[in-house]
Amino acid sequence: MRSILLASALCLAALPAAAQVTVKDPWVRATVPQQKATGAFMKLDSAAGARLIGGSSPVAGRVELHEMKMENNVMKMREVKGIDLPPGKTVELEPGGYHVMLLDLKHQVKAGDVVPLSLVVQTELGKIETVEVKAPVRPLNASAGGGEHGGMHMDMKH
């Protein structure tokens, strides 16, 4: 019985259906009035596997995907073309790793606001889909992971 269930689960996972990307705990870091950029963070799950390839938001002129890495105590930031969302694995966009970068902000984003985000994902079969997200704004001084990890967790965590 268990093997049948497992087999059907595998079949379902392999179905070329919707990417079924779900987004948990999205948040955007607040800005000060003159600031023209900020980051959005979230947890992404894709049942069938997909790739996050971009996005848009009414508050931003442009949206990019960025990756932060600490290398030898140098903070390195770069744009990435996509972020893989392997099936059944939660991919965290969080301080210390990937984030969605909101650029050319049209106005200040304040703690307590909700920022709409349209994420563009590509399914394993190349189909383009949009995932709508409503991301609450956390204060500029919000810690990574909303406090559950404390302040930092980068190179040290092993």
Binding site: Q34, E64, K69, M70, E71
Partner: protein, 198 residues
């Protein structure tokens, strides 16, 4: 790779601390890297948001925490400023003996007003400093700090050294604190510095 380097460095710092402790039994131990006696990071000459020129001498009597960053940074810079604010709070009354300085590596976009708003969002006493391209380069070089522009889409972001440099109240460069350290470790190192000075 970075992890290996970090631990090697941490190990080296730890061994150095032990060696020191072995010599006179009372040398202070730090979570950060003791760089007392460094012949670099001696001073800076930059503008505050009011346009006044500031140098290290303006902060004599304060423990100065200086680091490089830029306000377009959504990750490391707010984390570093948040940590500095947490550290200051946890130092209680001694927190007023600390001056946090944020030096922008992106003076092009970080206008004086933006710097004031940005550092003020973390703590009203934090100070943002900036210079023109040449002064920024000179300051980073003095601190052996690296920064560079990285093109993205139609814009750019920055890579930069993420150490926090700590001066004692006499204006001597004492510690280099890696970004991996926590607010509690920052506070502990500051307390150690303060205790050993009095």
């Amino acid at each position: 790779m970075a992890v290996v380097r970090f631990w090697k460095m941490a190990l080296a710092a730890g061994l150095a601390a032990l060696t020191f402790a072995g010599c006179d039994g009372g040398a202070p131990r730090f979570a950060g890297i003791d760089i007392t006696g460094a012949d670099w990071g001696r001073d800076f000459r930059l503008q505050d948001p009011d346009g006044r020129t500031r140098t290290l001498a303006d902060f004599r009597g304060k423990y100065v925490l200086l680091f490089f960053g830029f306000t377009h940074c959504p990750d490391v810079c707010p984390t570093a400023l948040t940590r500095a604010a947490e550290m200051k709070r946890s130092l209680g009354a001694d927190g007023s003996r600390v001056q946090v300085i944020f030096v922008t590596v992106d003076p092009e976009r970080d206008t004086p007003q933006l710097l004031r708003e940005y550092t003020g969002a973390f703590d009203p006493t934090f100070l943002g400093l900036r210079g023109d391209a040449e002064a920024t380069k000179r300051t980073a070089d003095e601190f052996k700090a690296f920064y560079e522009k990285v093109p993205t889409g139609a814009s750019y972001t920055m890579n930069h050294t993420a150490f926090t440099y700590v001066f004692d109240a006499t204006g001597r460069l004492r510690l280099s604190l890696p970004h991996s350290m926590t607010a509690a470790q920052f506070a502990a190192d500051l307390r150690t510095l303060m205790k050993n000075a009095s």
